[in-house]
Amino acid sequence: MAFESLTDKLQNVFKNLRSKGRLTEADVKASLKEVKMALLEADVNFKVVKQFVKSVEERAVGADVLNGLNPGQMVIKIVNEEMTSLMGSEVTELEFQPGQAKTVIMMCGLQGSGKTTSAAKIAGKLFRKGKKSLLVACDVYRPAAYEQLKINAEKVGADFFGIEGENDVVKIVKAAMDEAVSKNDNVIIIDTAGRLQIDDVLMEELVHIKEAVTVHQTLLVVDAMTGQEAVNVADTFNEKIGIDGVVLSKMDGDARGGAALSVKSVTGKPILFVGMGEKLTDMDQFYPDRMASRILGMGDVLSLIEKAGEQIDEKKEKEMSAKLKKGKFDFEDYLESMNQMKKMGGLASVMSMLPGMGGMLPKGANMADLTDQIDDKKMARTEAIVLSMTKQERQNPDILNPSRKHRIAKGAGVDIAEVNRLIKQFTQAQKMMKQMPQLMGKRGRFKLPF
């Protein structure tokens, strides 16, 4: 996240303006220029941006500024709402044929967009829901595409079908239908070759597949990093073969994913899934509101809140905050909070979801430097040190004498200096925690306690 977040930029725009009760045209114009730039940096298509900015302007001028918000935040609120509604306000699920009928899904997209991986991920997701899929290899061009799908099928618990050396995809899909009957699969997922949308011959091939068998869902896989081109790709695929939904891949990168907005607004088709990682289980439901925040660079606050809600035991949380307030925070609690952090996907992942991280960093530093300091690996070492303490030591760090420290260092396989450093940092953290209530009020920056 090398970008300054839109929220920060707008804060700057409005620094010199006094808060008014109502958004004036000047307020809106000033902020929309920043909104426009942020959207372009996020690779939202220029034409989509123009139209979007215009509709926001119409709605925003004259709108009341809500209590507790400044004009900038108010504009963001409107922008965010408009974008969420543009992205499709509801979560869309994959549609299945009723009863025992088989559902046929065809994947399509440009080369390298992640079709094969997405196909396997969807099969895995369905497998966990108790549906058995047949993955069909119809990429007859890329060397080893057949093997890739075959290996992945095995990994996700799906059946696999392909005819090695066969170049006629229609023959393959027809044979696949019989295979699905004999293997009793509920869903048939056809992986096709990557193609350029301007390659008529290859586009024809997809049409032929659709003519040969009934395809219930045609999913277009779009790389979240796609630039201005996303619009043309989606438009052509939709026009020539007709698509029913979109899978957004490689969302675990740091691309803002403006392509999503472009594709949605051009085709009107819902985004069903987002690919979030390299493991075959890393496929998530698509949430329009979160995507809106991400494109605007506001951090995925909602996801974070929800994730935190899922993972953190509420009771423990209360105990912890009570302890924090009293400054009675020992190594046991330290361990506990580290565990929670881990459940939420590591500190680095938590940090990246927070909004305005850019603003908190010292000049010249970027997110990578910061995550350097709070490397999850370092956390593991810290954990090892804490785990090498006895229970008594953890609850009462004051008793740690050189001989004990020596033992701990040996147990954790680290240098004694590292143990000393941790203890020192811990004592500082303890002090800081005592002052927390005051600190929180001031918006101060503080070093994390490790």
């Binding site: 390298g112 890329r142 080893a144 990093m225 081109e229 675990d252 990168g253 990246s352």
Partner: protein
Amino acid sequence: MALFSKLFAGLSKTRAQFDDELAEIFARDEIDDDFYDDLEELLILADIGVKATENIIDGLREDAKKLRIKSPNELGSHLALKVKDQMATCEADYEFENRKSVVLVVGVNGVGKTTTIGKLAAKYRADGKKVIVAAADTFRAAAQDQLSVWAERSGAYLITGKDGQDPSSVVYDAVNAARSRDTDICLIDTAGRLNNKKNLMEELKKMNRIIEREYPDAYKETLIVLDGATGQNAVNQAREFKDATDVSGIVITKLDGSAKGGIAIAIQSELSIPVKFVGVGEGVDDLQKFDADTYVRALFYREGADDDAGETEE
């Protein structure tokens, strides 16, 4: 001009839509804010990026003022110059081809690293060089098979490891083989990794250390492969890969679609890493050396139309 026509054909789709609008803008009667706004829009649509676009537009405004240019038509010839100003070139760009070298090929997933290596291997084999290709992508299922097909086609020597094996050990084998066999070029394929995945970036550093240690005499080249359809995130990718591995050149693939590959300009403008190759088609010969003049011309000028560079398409 064979190179030019290939690139030209590759970018032809790009140019078709682009041309009309560009021609329309430069055929206007006067230079006003609308003129600049529309031009800006066109450049951003080509993925040239907000910053580079601003630089270009500012440059044009300055020229117009300084030279008292009144008609858009006259300003047209300055556009290519301003775009070229944003690009980086360097004399030693292709030095690795003349030396005993180890070329590490990196990039995010699905940009065409393996294919690029296959094409480079074929090219250097055709030049009569001894080539090793190493499949250090032990993560993606069947990535090694894909590379072995390419190796077989071109007659390059292939080094592989087992699926899930430490990729650095494949690098170790490859570099040692390259040294003992006195190979001209050793091309190393790495697993696609997103630029924000710290561990994987560390892995690249480890590979570099191994190359450095095992074969210090080799000329080292690190090429980052970028998908021509990628938007502004490509700049981030290049920046972060550069931090991790000292990227010395860029390969832009898939310019045969309708994507304009303006990121070539965006990246050079921000990071000063030269673009060395561009892929303009699926054929083995469709990976070409990059030339800023040719690129700009192919991007901005109509077939057969006169332009200041004095070149026309054959």
